[in-house]
Point group: C3
Chain length 202, copies 3
């Protein structure tokens, strides 16, 4: 199982790096700044998680994550040279898969290091969403995740399902799968029907 | 004394969370993004302090801080559903109390871990003001604290008074109290007479 | 050699602090917020490096860095009171020297702590450029380094030259010097001929 996880990790990092590269494209960035934005989007969330939990930062230990994000960025740059139309829907679905995977893996890493379920949910949400937050801040935009679209909400819901499954004695991989499915469905529904979760009276 | 500190800690976190929620309201944020902004405002400063000092991050050790910020955010959301007018002055006073408390506690934590007084003053200022800095950055605004209103200045003044009282042998709680009073008075004066501290010729 | 390095360190910190102060000036900031922006620009990159590598943060260990950035900020404020014209070219050259020095020292610190050359290059680039990134984010601008001008590119090129010289058995100080020269020449060329490195078809 572990070796499959590593490939999923790299895939997730790659998907997030693509979203960073596209933001750099929209903002008309030049030079290797594109690599910076791609890498920050891809590994920023996990970096914040590891720093806050005081664990060794994952991409220092294993540089394949950094390489995956650079490769994804370079492939995207080449794609954009020949093809300016970006396939929006496949990208959103890939991002949803990346999010669901990272949230659950982030929550699991926190639990492994002895946090409470609440902290694990927060750490999962940070892992899944803070790369995008840093991307948007660097691109001088208000972070998308704060403006709704059920992004953080999906992450929190998945984190709750995962930690509660574990609490009720469900086997680990099953719990992880359940958490991921919840996030994926929330995101796909939000994308399909353009759902929001308003908290303030407008 | 220690158990009172914990309640003050939670109160301070709550006040800062309210200011994060109000920013989310002004920026018309949706979904649980509000919780993110509230939490980041409330615990961001202390997180940066603990990470830089390489100490365990305080809200990982004790999740009541996180819960306090969520509760404060949810209460504020309900308040805003029934009452759109925000009582500005009480909020500013509460924020001034929160600031004075956090700055001195942050400086004290730094000193406890063997820093010099200068570093302790810087750490106190970070503890008190960086939550608001991250809040403003996330809301895509230039941080208020950098635009004056004697905010950082009050924090630095209080830090100096606190560390110098200690250096002159004043008892710890008295020194803390002196530092807090200085910050509180600076802030209240700045709010009352709209004081600024210009450094550039305009 | 070591004691000279310390003076170069302080000089580099001072140069970066000046660029932070100038940004604060352009943004018409008030109060001690100027000190914050100066310090963040000067020591932000090294702070991110040390936190990610889980090393003691350099300016906590040795407060002369913080003092150097404050002194540079205060001198700049006085300069700007008597003289509103800022000498652009000398400042850019000083910044290029600061960058080349910080990138190589950052990469070396990473290698010393057992990272791979790739991670060392990334850490050097972070050390040299992230202070400016945080400065621009705090000033609510899109980071300069992401918009090109061969800034990150120069840093990466210097990091590659430095680590590859070491890999080919070149003596350490010679390798460092080679890396710095490459960065300096890239930057000076970029400033002189206003070079960019476009990656997207416009």
């Amino acid at each position: 199982m572990e070796q499959y996880f590593h490939w999923f990790d790299l895939l997730g990092v790659g998907v997030f790096a693509v979203s960073g590269t596209l933001m750099a494209y929209r903002k008309n960035m030049d030079g290797f700044g594109v690599l910076v934005l791609a890498a920050v989007t891809a590994i920023g969330g996990g970096t914040v998680r590891d720093v806050i939990l005081d664990l060794p930062v994952f991409w220092i230990e294993d540089q394949s994550f950094l390489i995956a994000s650079f490769v994804a960025a370079i492939l995207t740059i080449f794609w954009l040279r020949f093809q300016t139309k970006i396939p929006q829907t496949p990208l959103l679905i890939a991002d949803a898969i990346g999010l669901s995977y990272f949230v659950v893996m982030g929550a699991q890493k926190a639990l492994e290091h002895g946090t409470t379920p609440l902290i694990a949910i927060v750490m999962g949400t940070i892992t899944g969403s803070f790369g995008g937050v840093i991307r948007d801040i660097m691109a001088n935009e208000m972070p998308l995740v704060l403006r709704g679209e059920l992004y953080a909400t999906a992450a929190i819901a998945g984190g709750i399902v995962y930690t509660q499954c574990l609490a009720f004695g469900v086997e680990m991989y099953t719990s992880m799968f359940a958490g991921m499915i919840v996030i994926l469905l929330c995101r796909l529904a939000a994308i399909r029907w353009n759902l929001h979760f308003p908290v303030f009276k407008s």
